[in-house]
Symmetry: C2
Subunit: 389 residues, 2 copies
């Protein structure tokens, strides 16, 4: 194996992506396009099913709401986690059964709760008294789970305190739900997006188990644990294979929570590696004669799909026809007239020196949080196109 081949293998380019590679190679794209392989999505679902042995898998629709993805997943028994009325409607129209769709946003419009309830949804998230009141009024008797705040894990993208209630408030809110006529079934948490190793879950699961035990000791008969998302994709640093990862997480869950009902909400883990963006270089330049770095401008940027490069958090992998030739550091930027539309500057990306305007760049593992993050047309550039194979 050559150094270049090793490099490609490490970057996740392998027989698994051969259908994607062939489709991209055979196509002339007028604009940046996300190419999705539904067979990879299905393989990921199967790997999660095996690893999470017995857990209910609710795909986090927000990661990629392409109708074809929802349709394929619904057809093979996947459940769904929806963030809004729009996502609920999408799931139902693509064949999902309403009792398999949870409304996982803790910030819901009253009218959307009522819509979901009428449509047959049975499970709702909450983290505050006012939200429980809205659910009780618009979905009387519904099942709810409480989102709790946990301390940051080692995730690449640790979450803020935006979602969840403090552990000390859990019993009070469970009682509140009960008093409002709801059925408080359990707890949810989020370990942090892109949690690369199953071992990173340990500290979080310990915290949640302590909250769970306290609530049960307070007389709350919990029977549902929602372990949320966090299932990673390869973005340059090693990650466990999906099935192994899931099995290791599930073993830790069972060791702490026994035989309770478990649900999981994989988003990135389900779809990220099913997609690659076919992009193009628009310009290569140096700002001054003595500049160390080239600036490389792509036709896709932070406002047309690559929003997760904010703060350089997610580091995408780039492939070109010149890979293996002499390379050097670049600052990568998007095509808009917006000065914040810069992808990687603090930690430049190494790309071949021979790259020129017009060259194709394939961006790997872009199936999650890209097309849905694209702007309606900032600077007049259309949003990321999607092609499904």
């Amino acid at each position: 194996m050559t150094a270049h081949a090793t490099d490609r293998a490490l970057r996740g380019t392998n027989s698994r992506t051969s259908r994607l590679d062939a489709a991209i190679a055979a196509t002339t794209f007028d604009r940046p396009t996300l190419v999705l392989d539904l067979d990879i999505v299905e393989e990921n679902f199967r790997a999660l099913e095996r690893g999470l042995d017995g857990a209910m898998i609710h795909y986090a629709v927000k990661a990629n709401p392409a109708p074809q993805v929802i349709e394929r997943l619904a057809s093979i028994g996947c459940r769904f986690d929806a963030a809004s009325r729009g996502e609920i409607e999408l799931c139902l129209s693509m064949g999902a059964r309403p009792e398999h769709v949870s409304f996982g946003n803790t910030i819901k419009r009253p009218a959307d709760i009522a819509f979901a309830y009428r449509a047959g949804l049975q499970l709702f998230a909450a983290d505050a008294e006012e939200e429980l009141e809205k659910i009780a009024e618009n979905a009387p008797g519904a099942s709810v789970y409480l989102r709790v705040i946990v301390e940051p894990s080692g995730a690449d993208w640790p979450l803020t305190r935006k979602f969840g209630c403090a552990p000390a408030r859990v019993s009070e809110l469970l009682s509140c739900a009960r008093a409002l006529g709801l059925d408080p079934r359990g707890l949810s948490f989020h370990v942090g997006s892109q949690t690369r190793k199953a071992a990173m879950w340990t500290h979080t699961l310990d915290q949640v188990a302590a909250i769970w035990d306290t609530a049960r000791a307070d007389g709350h008969d919990l029977d549902l644990l929602n372990i949320g998302g966090g299932f990673p994709a390869f973005h340059g640093e090693e990650v466990d294979p999906l099935e192994t990862y899931s099995r290791d997480v599930m073993a830790q869950v069972r060791a702490r929570f026994g035989d309770v009902a478990v649900m999981a909400e994989p988003g990135r883990g389900m779809v990220a590696d099913s997609g690659a963006i076919a992009a193009e270089i628009l310009l290569v330049s140096r700002k001054g004669a003595d500049d160390l770095h080239r600036w490389v401008y792509l036709d896709v940027g932070r406002f047309s799909g690559l929003a997760e490069t904010e703060g350089e958090a997610i580091r995408y992998q780039f492939e070109t026809a010149h890979d293996g030739e002499e390379s050097g550091p670049c600052i990568l930027a998007g095509p808009s007239c917006d000065s914040v539309d810069v992808l990687y500057e603090k930690r430049p990306v190494s790309l071949p020196l021979s790259l020129r305007a017009g060259d194709r760049v394939v961006i790997r593992n872009c199936g999650a949080y890209t097309s849905s993050y694209a702007s309606v047309g900032f600077n007049g550039f259309p949003p990321l196109d999607v092609m499904v194979i």
Copy 2:
């Protein structure tokens, strides 16, 4: 004048916004909506025309590409700065004359340059040799101006080095343009978005004048200065009135550059205060019993229009029916299931303690960089709606 009335006056709520206020008060909105008053846009154009005495005013379409805005501006003689083929097509379809539209993005697709040239555009921006080559090939003989990098000003949102060439490269690139058969007419720069005071332009104009003089001394017969944008909107800190501001900037330009042709590219300054977002509170909560701050969740967030709150850079002004009552600090967040969809956390916003889910919030001076920054439908929430009055 009561303290509250003074506060409202300071925040820009006055007779000028009475049509906006009346339209918002009279409407029930199903989702967050940007309401735009075209008469305010026209007033702003007139103020700029008077202040920038004789300069060509090219509205930066990216700030707000609502067709009605473009149509009104075209009908009163405004010119346009376009960032893409999409924006050029928009301007032409709304009645702009092609020779009044400049292609100001320094990162252009070759096919889009060719399109613009065929459509009759005559003026293109560049900051690199490869870009000049693309223009020469696809728009032979066209006029170009070079974007130069200037040191950061005191702007609220200073720009990165993404655009522009180093001053030391200017003469070389002008010669390159000439050798390629183009007509290198002058220079452009950007003082920084939201430059609140005309006095903040001084240092930048000094730098550009030095570059200009060097280029002329090198034999380049420059006759066009593009002073870009930077014209501010009121976002909580005092700004000069638009006409005064423009007049002060123009006086500084004339003092340094004499009688050259001047063009300006106001975006925010033209449209920001013409628009207000009608939003709604979805949830008010405290994470724990001892939390100092409430969390207030709106139905509009970073992915549905308020992208400029990134890094808490732009501080919008919020109005509610409870203004004047006792208030306290809040962390403000958007409705999506995304942990980065938080608007103001480091510097909380003071809002009435009586606010509840369902209450309306009017967000002032949102006419620029909102609807065009909205995502295609992140989390299933539709993009910001636009209503023109």
